[in-house]
Symmetry: none
Subunit: 212 residues, 4 copies
């Protein structure tokens, strides 16, 4: 009788305890939400995953809604960091491939299924929508800066509209995640990703060859 949320991991009195407990809940809740969806996931189910009472969850989050919001926020941050990390150096194909692999990696915390739960919810919840919009814009900005640099280095044709291209690329990525959820083979998705990006990428090369 009397488990505690971060069982045997940390003494209940140390200050880190609360943060650790919150994180455990966030993780379990993300898992649960991605398995059964926001509405169908009960607080009871989340508590059971942690072998803890329902009441305990409310010591850390004041409602199911807040729990979900926190998860969404964390996911957005994680996604942005992954993107920044991936685009640190290298060429377009290589970098996007890195991003792609990291996000698609099933061991990753970032759970793709949940993405559509969130988007679905955003289509009716303007606060959430605004949050996602802001984050999405920021990611587009990061990608656009990267592409600009590539352009300067002559790896992308001069006449390319970087704004359009970054939105196009990010859209394709999101779209492939849908394909992934629907059961498209990983190998097909990867081929589409590199193949299509390759087409985009190769054009300037050809163009360059023209200059000869």
């Amino acid at each position: 009788m009397g488990n505690n949320i971060s069982r045997d991991h940390m003494a209940r009195i140390v200050p880190e305890y609360k943060q650790e407990a919150r994180n455990r809940i966030l993780k379990a809740a993300q898992e649960a939400f991605s398995e059964t969806g926001y509405d169908q996931t009960t607080m009871e189910a989340i508590a059971q995953k942690l072998d803890v009472s329902k009441g305990a969850l409310y010591l850390y989050f004041k409602s199911k809604e807040e729990l979900f919001a926190q998860i969404t926020g964390a996911r957005q941050r994680a996604l942005r960091e992954t993107l920044q990390e991936s685009l640190k150096e290298g060429e377009l194909l290589e970098c996007t491939q890195k991003f792609f692999d990291t996000v698609m990696d099933p061991h990753n915390t970032y759970n793709i299924n949940l993405t559509f739960e969130v988007i679905s919810e955003a289509s009716r919840n303007s606060a959430l929508r605004d949050l996602l919009f802001t984050d999405y814009s920021r990611r587009l900005q990061i990608l656009a800066e990267f592409l600009d640099e590539q352009k300067e280095r002559g790896l992308i044709r001069d006449d390319v509209d970087i704004g359009a291209l970054s939105l196009g690329i990010s859209a394709m990525f999101n779209g492939l995640m849908i394909g992934h959820i629907l059961g498209i083979e990983h190998e097909d998705i990867e081929r589409a990703w590199t193949g299509t990006l390759g087409m985009l990428h190769s054009s300037p090369v050809r163009a360059t060859s023209l200059e000869r």
Copy 2:
């Protein structure tokens, strides 16, 4: 007291009556689901949209779940038809633009919001997932055939992997719908769509010109 589902539109005894009533329900339900999401939409709300009793809905559909499934099926069919219609003749950019405009048209029955509700649900419901997968594959097939034809007509480079390209294009389309939901301006989305497709498209043209 007591409207009936196809109020004065058709005699209740003729066989078409039943179909007509079903369609009215499907339409109201799709609207309701896209406004409030599957779980948050009550049968009561759907019934109220039709000015009909809750019980009446169960005369035509055996459960909320079946109602949703039927809607999904109808949406898939509609989407396929739109695609076929759009690709009937013309060139890539022109055809995809037509498709894009038709689907994005807010007057269209096909409600984009609902798409993510469905995908979200599919991520946990394998029967639904299989249904969507089949339909998605069929659409990819249609697109691939179209692209093949373009290739034969020399409008696409010989070395392009059509399977990858069709998946890439369709993914981009889906991804742009996400952007749309999140509030990206319609004009930006259109620019990304035509811009990126243009890049794909133009390369072979350049390549072709080289061969001369």
Copy 3:
């Protein structure tokens, strides 16, 4: 399976059915509230008294709070009517005695215990307080008019402040109800009521006798 709230009393389709059902719920709820208090009374308990499901209650009242408010309103109306009825004709002692007996009558719908539940609640709920204040004022008005008439008929001394007297009398009545709840014998309460009122009443008589 499938009781209905006004079991065998009325067909479910007739329009009076709903009113009848509401009344039954109001009655059961009033009983329950007076037995266990507002907070401690569960909707479940009320439903059980009626041998009905909890959900059924919500077909007639949108919340526990509304149910309580309706009961309070009905009680206020009943009390006013009793007062008006009692003061229709006769002299002070006789009339107030009639009022007293009617309200104290345990067979009466008006449940005294509940009164203090309501007052207690009113001490923190200004909307309820305002409602009670309005009703109380109205009753005071009715009593004052009665006393005025008595005064004109010479049954009450000329120099008596009718406003003060009516508030004093009504307060005494309310105070005796408290005594009743605490277990003071009915006979003692009655003696206090008539005895004290008698003192008030007799004064003018004596005064009158002075005029001889």
Copy 4:
């Protein structure tokens, strides 16, 4: 970290400490109960008023119920003392006026609102009811003795039933407290109190003096 209940007021080891702590809790709890009612007041809220942990309350009172019972007991004692103090010397009107003013004084610890919370509870809890009955009887006794004395001094007519009168007077007082809660103006209440008592009081005096 960790205030203790009688913060710096007293060393924790001395025996008085415990009593001091109890009193602080009783005071805070009475305040809380009168603000939000017994059921709606949480132990958490009481603890917060004292800037103390919930658990601490249980070191001094074994349950919420006991806490409430102790408060009730203290209130009864205080009320009796006030009554005795007020009736020590002087005439009826003067004495009762003193009592009235003391109890109604908002700076008084004795919180009127709570009275009805207690009565309400008593209507369903026989142990509490018995307690209140005993105390009430004792107060009636004190008042009766006072009135008897007044009678002997010829200030009250010989034929007055002192038992009835004391109950009547005390009831009127209680009833006026209800009026006070409902928002009757203080001045009206006072007028009713002195006015009605004045009638009781003056009549026999007049009558008596006449008969001589």
